[in-house]
C-alpha cells in the first residue's frame, strides 16, 4: 500500500476508535450546578403522566409545624482531627421524644469544612425537614445554623446523620440515635448504635464488650454494609424493624438478625444475655455462642395484620433495577452502578400524585448487596424472589437487597416532596446508585452544587 493512503487509513481507524470515546465522555458530563428534579427522565409507573410544576408548593415550603417544641436540642458539628463530632461526641447525643411530640433540633456547624446537614433517617418528616443538601436545604456552612422541626408520629428507633458529603461525613462520625417511645411506656431500653471507625467495630463508639443496661435493645446499623446480630444466653423477639412494630413476634433462639446498613431492629431479651454485632463488639456478659448460620426470615416472622391500605389497588408500578456496567460517570471512566440500565444522571424520576398507591419492584443484578433506602416513607414488603410475605407486615425504610434478589414493596404516596431513594452503602451514591421519588406539582427550591456547595451524596 502506498504511504499516503496507508497514513490516511491509519488516521481514519484512529478516529473511529477515538471519536466514540470522546463522545461518550462528553455526553456523561454533569453540570457543576443543577436541579436534581430536572435530571433524568420521568417514570410514571404506568399511571397518568404528571409534571413537577403546577404552581403547587415548593420544597422549601413543606416545613414542620410552628409552635412551642416539646423537645429542643442543639447539635454542634465539629471537626476533631479525623473524627467528626456532634456536641463533642461521636455518636452524637441520643435524642429522646414521646410519640406525638414536636421536636426542634438546631444544627450549628462550628468547623466542618464541607458544610453539614442532618437527615432524620426513618422518620417520615415533612420534605423541607429531610436534611438532604441540594434537594431539601442548602448545606450549613461553617458558622451557620439550621433549625429542623417535626412531629414524631411513630414510636420507634431512628437515627440522624449528615446528608452532605454523606459517604465521608457519616463514616467519620456525624450521626446519632433518635428514640421515640409511646406515651406512658417505661423505657428499660438500650441504644446500640453500631459503627466502624477506622476498621474498629464499636457499639455507641466503644469497641469490645459494653454493659447490658436494658431489655429492649435498639440496634442501629450506621455502617456501610449489613451486620448480623446474634444473642447468647437468652431467647429474644424482634419487636420492631425500622421503627415499626412486628405483629406477634415469636421467640427466637439460634438464629441471627440481619440489620442492613441504615436499618434498625429492636430486640427484646427475655432475660439478661449477650448481644453480638460482629467484629468483637457486643453488649452483655458471658461468652458468645458462635454466630448462627441462618438469619431470621422477616418474610415469615410474626403473624399477619392489617396494612391500612390495599397494595392490589396500586395505580403506579415502578421498577428499580440495579445493575453495573462500564462507562463514564461525569467524565470518569469506570464500572458504575446503573438504575434501570441507565447511568446517573440519566436515571428515572419516579413521579407520583398524593394518594397514589405505589408498588415498586427492586431487583439487584449488580454483583453486590445494596441496602436501599427510600426517604420520607415506609414501605411494606410484599414478596421476595416471587415468594409472598406470610408473616407480620414487614415495614421498612432500609431494605437489604442481596445480589440476585428481587423484592416487591408497596407504599402510599402520602408525603409530598422530592425524596431521595438510594443505596445506603453511601460510597455507592457518588458511584451513581441514587434515584428520586417526586410528587406532581412540587417545585424544587435548591440546587446541587451552587453557592452552598451542596453535595448530597
Amino acid at each position: 500500500m502506498r504511504t499516503p493512503i496507508r497514513a490516511a487509513v491509519a488516521v481514519v481507524a484512529a478516529l473511529a476508535v477515538l471519536v466514540p470515546l470522546v463522545w461518550f465522555w462528553y455526553a456523561s458530563l454533569v453540570p457543576a450546578t443543577y436541579d436534581m428534579a430536572a435530571m433524568g427522565y420521568p417514570d410514571y409507573g404506568g399511571g397518568p403522566a404528571v409534571t413537577h410544576e403546577h404552581g403547587g408548593p415548593r420544597v422549601a415550603d413543606l416545613t414542620g409545624p410552628s409552635g412551642e417544641p416539646d423537645v429542643a436540642v442543639t447539635l454542634v458539628a465539629r471537626a476533631d482531627g479525623s473524627r467528626y463530632t456532634l456536641n463533642g461526641t461521636s455518636p452524637g447525643p441520643v435524642i429522646r421524644a414521646v410519640q406525638g411530640q414536636l421536636v426542634e433540633v438546631t444544627l450549628v456547624n462550628e468547623s466542618i469544612p464541607d458544610g453539614v446537614t442532618l437527615h432524620w433517617h426513618g422518620v417520615d418528616v415533612p420534605n423541607a425537614e429531610d436534611g438532604v443538601a441540594g434537594i431539601t436545604q442548602d448545606a450549613v456552612a461553617r458558622g451557620g445554623r439550621h433549625v429542623y422541626r417535626f412531629v414524631v408520629t411513630d414510636a420507634g428507633t431512628y437515627w440522624y446523620h449528615s446528608h452532605q458529603v454523606s459517604h465521608e461525613q457519616v463514616r467519620r462520625g456525624l450521626f446519632g440515635a433518635l428514640v421515640v417511645t409511646p406515651p406512658g411506656s417505661s423505657a428499660n431500653d438500650q441504644v446500640v448504635a453500631v459503627h466502624t471507625y477506622d476498621g474498629r467495630r464499636t457499639v455507641n463508639g466503644v469497641p469490645g464488650v459494653s454493659a447490658l443496661t436494658g431489655r429492649r435493645i435498639r440496634v442501629i446499623n450506621t455502617d456501610a454494609g449489613p451486620i448480623r446480630v446474634w444473642v447468647s444466653g437468652t431467647p429474644f423477639r424482634v419487636l420492631a424493624i425500622d421503627g415499626h412494630d412486628v405483629h406477634e413476634p415469636a421467640a427466637i433462639t439460634g438464629e441471627a438478625v440481619l440489620v442492613t446498613a441504615g436499618g434498625r431492629a429492636d430486640l427484646q431479651l427475655e432475660t439478661a444475655g449477650r448481644v453480638d454485632v460482629g467484629g468483637g463488639a457486643a453488649i452483655g456478659t458471658g461468652s458468645p455462642i458462635p454466630a448462627p448460620k441462618i438469619n431470621v426470615d422477616f418474610l415469615a416472622y410474626g403473624s399477619p395484620s392489617g396494612l391500612g391500605f390495599d397494595p392490589a389497588a396500586a395505580n403506579r408500578r415502578f421498577a428499580y433495577t440495579i445493575g453495573r456496567r462500564i462507562g463514564f460517570l461525569d467524565g470518569r471512566p469506570g464500572m458504575w452502578w446503573t438504575v434501570d440500565g441507565h447511568l446517573f444522571p440519566d436515571v428515572p424520576m419516579f413521579m407520583v400524585v398524593t394518594g397514589d398507591v405505589v408498588r415498586m419492584t427492586i431487583t439487584n443484578d449488580s454483583g453486590e448487596v445494596h441496602p436501599m433506602h427510600l426517604h420520607g416513607h415506609h414501605a411494606v414488603v410484599l414478596s421476595r424472589d416471587g415468594v409472598a410475605a406470610t408473616g407480620s407486615p414487614w415495614w421498612i425504610d432500609s431494605l437489604d437487597v442481596a445480589d440476585g434478589a428481587t423484592y416487591e414493596i408497596a407504599f402510599v404516596a402520602d408525603n409530598p416532596g422530592i425524596w431521595a431513594d438510594h443505596c445506603h452503602n453511601l460510597e455507592h451514591v457518588p458511584e451513581g446508585l441514587v434515584a428520586h421519588l417526586a410528587y406532581a406539582g412540587v417545585a424544587s427550591s435548591f440546587q446541587v452544587g451552587g453557592a452552598a456547595g451542596n453535595v448530597p451524596e
Binding site: 491509519a10 470515546l21 463514616r171 466502624t196 455502617d223 467484629g279 471512566p333 454483583g367
Partner: protein
C-alpha cells in the same frame, strides 16, 4: 512508532507482574491489620495494594491497550493491529471477569488465569515489533 508499539506492549506485559505483586501485598496487609483488631468489611476502604490493583487494572492497563491499538495503525508492525486488538480484547475480558467474580467468586480463578493470557499476548505483540525492527531495510515493510 514501532518502538512505541514495542514499549506499550512491553508495559502491558510488565503490568501483569505488578498486578500480581500488589494484590498479594494487599491481602497480606488485610491479614496483618486484623492482627491488631481491625475488621475487614463493607466499611473497609481499599489499602494501598487494593488501590493500586484497581487503578492499574481499571485505568492504566486499559489506557495502555487503547494507546497500543491507536499506535498499531501507524506502526507498520506485521500483524500489529491484530495483536493490539487481541491484547485489548483480553484486557477487556480481564475486567469483565473481575466484575463477574463479585457475583460468582469462582470466576476469580479465570481472572487469575486470564492474566497470563494478557501477559502472553502482549509479549507476542512486543516480539513482533522487535522482529520487525531487527532486519534493516525494506523487508520489514509489508
Amino acid at each position: 512508532m514501532r518502538a512505541l508499539y514495542r514499549a506499550l506492549s512491553g508495559l502491558i506485559a510488565l503490568s501483569v507482574a505488578v498486578q500480581a505483586a500488589v494484590l498479594a501485598a494487599a491481602w497480606f496487609l488485610v491479614l496483618k491489620d486484623t492482627d491488631s483488631g481491625a475488621v475487614f468489611d463493607k466499611n473497609s476502604g481499599a489499602n494501598w495494594g487494593h488501590a493500586a490493583h484497581s487503578v492499574i487494572g481499571m485505568g492504566v492497563v486499559p489506557l495502555l491497550a487503547l494507546l497500543l491499538l491507536l499506535v498499531s495503525f501507524f506502526a507498520r508492525v506485521p500483524g500489529g493491529v491484530t495483536w493490539a486488538l487481541i491484547t485489548l480484547g483480553v484486557v477487556v475480558l480481564q475486567i469483565v471477569l473481575a466484575f463477574v467474580s463479585y457475583s460468582a467468586p469462582v470466576t476469580g480463578l479465570l481472572h487469575g488465569l486470564n492474566a497470563f493470557a494478557v501477559a502472553g499476548v502482549a509479549s507476542v505483540a512486543m516480539r513482533r515489533a522487535g522482529d520487525a525492527a531487527a532486519p534493516a531495510g525494506p523487508v520489514a515493510v509489508s
